[in-house]
C-alpha cells in the first residue's frame, strides 16, 4: 500500500489519477518517438505469416531443441496416460486432452516465458501447466483428486491453479480466462508505470480456442489490451473445432476472404496479428519470441493465431463422430513431435540415442507421477469448509457468539456454517 501512494506522486502529481498512466496518448500529449515507430510498424505489417522453420538452417541450439522436444513428448505422454487413468476410473468428470497441440504450449510457454510470467488457460490445461514448469506429480495428483495436487484436489482437471508458477487458472467457461489474463498484464504494467517498479516486465499469455473467439470477452479484452498497451499476448489455438461445431460453420469470413481469419482481427483493434503453423514448434517459438519481446518492451499486445489440431475428441466423453477421417489424417501427418524430431536429426541437433534417452526419461517421469498420485492421500474432511473465504469470519457468527469458524466441528467439516 505505501509504495503505491509514494509512487503516485512520482508519476503525475495531479490528484491520484493512477489510470492516467494507462490512457492512450492523444491530442497535445503526442506519442513518444518509440511508440510512434512501433505503431507505424504495426500498421505496415498489420497481419503476417510467421515464417516456417523448415526452410531455414538450424536457428536453435541443440540444448534448446532438446528442451522443446522433451516438453512436447512429456505433454503427449502425460495426456495419453490421463486417458488410461480416466478409463480406469482414477479421474472423473470432464477431462479434455491436449494431444496434437503441443507445439503451441511448448513453443510459447517453454520456449519464451519465465517462471514469473503469467498464463491463463482453459479446461484443456494440463499441458500448459507442464510447460510452465509445474511438476507432473502435482498435476497428476490433482487429476486423481488427491491432497498433493496443485489445488489439494479441490479444482480437478478443468481448474488448475499455481500461483508460484504464474498459472492463473484453468477456466471451465470459454472466454472467462481472457480478461483474467489481461488483469495480470494490467497488474504488471501498473507495477511498472504507477508503482515505479522498473523490474516489472512480466507478460501474460492467454490461451483459448477458435470457438472462444466468438464470445464477447475476446473482443472486449482486445480493445482494453490495445487501449492500455498491456503486456498481453493472445494465443488462439485454432484447432478448427469447438466440440462438434466447425470453425467455418460458426464464424463469418473476414472481409475479402473465403474463410474467417482470427489473426486479422488484431489490427482492427490496433495490434499485430500473426498467423502461425501451430504444428511447427519452431515457427510458434519465433512468433512468440517477437510478441513477448514487444510486450516486455512496453509496446503492447499481439494476437497470434496458431493453426493446430486435437488428435482426440473434445473430451474423453466425446464420441468424436463429426470430424472426417481425411481431416484427421491430414493433421496426423503434421504431428509436431515427429516434425521436430526429423528437423533435429537433419540438422545434427540430436542423435537417435539422444532422442531415445529423452523418451525414456519422459516415460519414467510419467510413470513416477502416476505412482505418486496413486499413493497420495485423499483430501481430509478438514478441507471441506476451508478456502471458501480468505477470512473465514465470512461464515458469520454462531449462536454462542463465537465466529462459526471457531466452532469445534469446523476443521472436521461438520460445523453448521449457515
Amino acid at each position: 500500500m505505501t509504495p503505491r501512494l509514494s509512487s503516485c506522486s512520482r508519476t503525475g502529481g495531479a490528484g491520484a489519477d493512477r489510470l492516467a498512466a494507462f490512457r492512450p496518448s492523444r491530442g497535445p500529449q503526442r506519442p513518444t518517438r518509440a511508440a510512434r515507430q512501433v505503431f507505424a510498424k504495426a500498421v505496415a505489417t498489420p497481419t503476417k505469416e510467421a515464417s516456417t522453420s523448415a526452410s531455414k538452417s538450424a536457428s536453435i541450439s541443440s540444448e534448446t531443441a532438446k528442451e522443446l522436444y522433451r516438453d512436447m513428448v512429456l505433454g503427449r505422454e502425460f495426456e495419453e496416460m490421463c486417458a488410461q487413468m480416466y478409463y480406469r476410473g482414477k479421474m472423473f468428470g470432464f477431462v479434455h486432452l491436449y494431444s496434437g497441440q503441443e507445439a503451441v504450449s511448448t513453443g510459447v510457454i517453454k520456449a519464451c516465458l519465465r517462471k514469473d510470467d503469467y498464463i491463463s488457460s482453459t479446461y484443456r490445461d494440463h499441458v500448459h501447466a507442464l510447460s510452465k514448469g509445474i511438476s507432473a506429480r502435482k498435476i497428476m495428483s490433482e487429476l486423481f483428486g488427491k491432497k498433493t495436487g496443485t489445488c489439494r484436489g479441490q479444482g480437478g482437471s478443468m481448474h488448475m491453479f499455481d500461483a508460484e508458477y504464474g498459472l492463473l487458472g484453468g477456466y471451465a467457461f470459454i472466454g472467462e480466462g481472457i480478461p483474467v489474463g489481461l488483469g495480470a498484464a494490467f497488474t504488471s504494467a501498473y507495477k511498472r508505470r504507477v508503482l515505479g517498479d522498473d523490474g516489472a516486465d512480466q507478460v501474460a499469455v492467454n490461451f483459448f480456442g477458435d470457438g472462444t473467439c466468438n464470445v464477447g470477452q475476446f473482443y472486449e479484452s482486445l480493445n482494453m489490451a490495445s487501449l492500455y498497451k498491456l503486456p498481453c499476448i493472445f494465443v488462439v489455438e485454432n484447432n478448427r473445432w469447438a466440440i462438434g461445431m466447425n470453425h467455418l460453420r460458426a464464424t463469418g469470413s473476414t472481409l475479402g476472404d473465403e474463410e474467417p481469419w482470427i489473426h486479422k482481427k488484431g489490427p482492427a483493434f490496433g495490434m499485430p496479428g500473426v498467423h502461425v503453423d501451430g504444428m511447427d514448434v519452431l515457427a510458434v517459438r519465433e512468433a512468440a519470441l517477437e510478441a513477448v519481446a514487444r510486450a516486455r518492451r512496453g509496446e503492447g499486445p499481439t494476437l497470434i493465431e496458431a493453426e493446430t489440431y486435437r488428435f482426440r475428441g473434445h473430451s474423453l466423453a466425446d464420441p468424436d463422430e463429426l470430424r472426417s477421417r481425411e481431416e484427421k489424417e491430414h493433421y496426423a501427418a503434421r504431428d509436431p513431435i515427429p516434425q521436430l524430431r526429423a528437423y533435429m536429426l537433419k540438422h545434427g541437433l540430436a542423435s537417435e540415442t539422444d532422442l531415445a534417452e529423452l523418451h525414456a526419461s519422459v516415460a519414467a517421469e510419467v510413470d513416477d507421477c502416476v505412482e505418486y498420485a496413486d499413493a497420495s492421500p485423499k483430501p481430509d474432511m478438514s478441507q471441506l469448509l476451508e478456502n471458501v473465504f480468505a477470512d473465514p469470519k465470512g461464515f458469520g457468527i454462531a449462536p454462542d457468539g463465537r465466529y462459526r469458524y471457531e466452532l469445534p466441528g469446523f476443521t472436521a467439516g461438520t460445523a453448521e456454517v449457515s
Binding site: G145, Q154, I243, M245
Partner: protein
C-alpha cells in the same frame, strides 16, 4: 451457436431418430407406457415446433451434435438448421413475436447471458407497459453433476426464482417434463426450465393422457407426489425422487410422509404447501442448492405465514453445504445431500434417534 427452425411443409422430413421417438410414444394403445425424461423433452419440443412455426430452438451444439445431452436428437434432420448466435438474439426475436427455446448446454453457462435474461427478458413487459412480450423458454440441465467441480456443479433455481417477471419450472419425471415444457413453450412470458442431467436417462411410467399432443400441465401448480399424514417433505426436480426414497425408508419407522413436488418454483403453489402442512403439522424441505436465501428458506417463510399455528415442530432444511463444489470425490460427497440425510433429519424431527 445454432438454431433449428421449421422449414416449409414440403421440406419436412422426419429423421430416423425422431421417428423412433415417435414410435415409442406411439405405443399408446396401452393404458400406460414407459417414457424417459429425454424422450419426454424431445417429443415436447418436436410437437410444439410442429404445432407453431414461430417456435424455434437456439443454442450451442443443438444441431449436428444433437444437443450436448441429445435432447434435440433428430430435430435438425426434421426441421433443418439456420445458424446465429444466441441468447440476446433469441430475446430480441421473442420481443418481435417469435417463440425461441434457448438451450443452454448447462445452466452454468447461462451466467454469460444473465443480463439478457434478467434485465431484458424479465423486465421488458413491465418497462414497456405491456407493449412488449417475451414468449421465450430458457432450458437445459441445472444443478450439481458428478465430478465436474465448482464451475459446472451448482443449482441456479433460487437465482432465477428471485427475479420478478420470470416463471421458473423444475420438473421431476417424464410427465412433468413433457407437460411443463409444452406449457412453457405456449406461455406468453419468459420461462426458465431447469432440467437435471442425471435424470435424462430415467424412465417413468406415463398414462395415455400424457402422450396426447395437447397435454399441458398448469404452471404454478404443485403436485402431491405421495400422500401421507405425519410429515410434509417439499422438493423439486431430482430431489423429489430422493424424497420418495426417504419416505419409503421412514415408512418402516411408522412415519407417514407426504411428498410435495413443487413443479414450478415461481409462481409457488402456496396453497398446496400450506394445506399439506396443515394436515401433517411438520415440514422438511429438500434441495441441492445452498442454504442461505434458498428454496427451503422461501418455503419455510410460506409455511410460517400460512400455517404457523399448525406446526408441531420447527421446520427443517436439507441442503447442499455452503461451499463451491469440490472436485475430489469424498469432499463432493460430503457437500451434497443424500437420501440418508433426509431420513436422518426426519427422524430427528420425531426424536427417533
Amino acid at each position: 451457436m445454432q438454431f433449428l427452425a421449421r422449414a416449409s411443409a414440403a421440406s419436412l422430413r422426419r429423421s430416423q431418430a425422431a421417428t423412433e421417438a415417435f414410435q415409442r410414444l406411439g405405443a399408446c394403445g396401452y393404458a400406460t407406457t414407459q417414457l424417459t425424461v429425454r424422450d419426454a423433452l424431445n417429443s415436447a419440443l418436436d410437437e410444439e415446433m410442429e404445432r407453431d412455426d414461430k417456435v424455434f430452438i437456439i443454442g450451442e451444439e443443438v444441431g449436428e451434435y444433437q444437443g450436448a445431452y441429445k435432447i434435440t436428437r433428430g430435430l435438425l434432420q426434421k426441421y433443418g438448421a439456420k445458424r446465429a448466435g444466441f441468447t440476446g438474439i433469441a430475446v430480441g426475436s421473442a420481443f418481435q413475436g417469435l417463440k425461441p427455446v434457448v438451450e443452454f448446454m448447462t445452466f452454468n453457462f447461462s451466467m454469460q447471458a444473465i443480463d439478457q435474461i434478467v434485465n431484458s427478458a424479465a423486465k421488458h413487459h413491465y418497462m414497456s407497459a405491456g407493449q412488449i412480450t417475451c414468449p421465450i423458454v430458457f432450458r437445459g440441465p441445472n444443478g450439481p453433476a458428478a465430478g465436474v467441480a465448482a464451475q459446472h456443479s451448482q443449482d441456479f433455481a433460487p437465482w432465477y426464482a428471485s427475479v420478478p417477471g420470470l416463471k421458473v419450472i423444475v420438473p421431476y419425471d417424464a410427465e412433468d417434463n413433457r407437460g411443463l415444457l409444452k406449457a412453457a413453450i405456449r406461455d406468453p412470458d419468459p420461462v426458465v426450465f431447469l432440467e437435471n442431467e442425471i435424470m435424462y436417462g430415467e424412465s417413468f411410467e406415463v398414462s395415455e393422457e400424457v402422450l396426447d399432443k395437447d397435454f399441458v400441465l398448469p404452471i404454478g401448480k404443485a403436485k402431491i407426489q405421495r400422500e401421507g399424514t405425519d410429515l410434509t417433505i417439499v422438493a423439486s426436480g431430482k430431489l423429489v425422487g430422493f424424497a420418495l426414497q426417504a419416505a419409503a425408508e421412514l415408512d418402516k419407522d411408522g412415519v407417514s410422509v407426504e411428498v410435495v413436488n413443487l413443479r414450478s418454483i415461481k409462481p409457488l403453489d402456496r396453497e398446496t404447501i400450506a394445506a399439506s402442512v396443515k394436515k401433517t403439522h411438520r415440514l422438511l424441505t429438500v434441495e441441492e442448492g445452498w442454504p442461505q436465501h434458498g428454496l427451503g428458506s422461501e418455503i419455510i417463510a410460506v409455511v410460517v405465514e400460512e400455517a404457523f399455528d399448525d406446526l408441531d415442530a420447527p421446520p427443517e432444511r436439507v441442503c447442499g453445504v455452503e461451499i463451491p463444489m469440490p472436485y475430489a470425490t469424498p469432499l463432493e460427497d460430503a457437500a451434497l445431500p443424500h437420501v440418508s440425510d433426509i431420513v436422518r433429519v426426519a427422524r430427528r424431527m420425531f426424536n427417533l434417534e
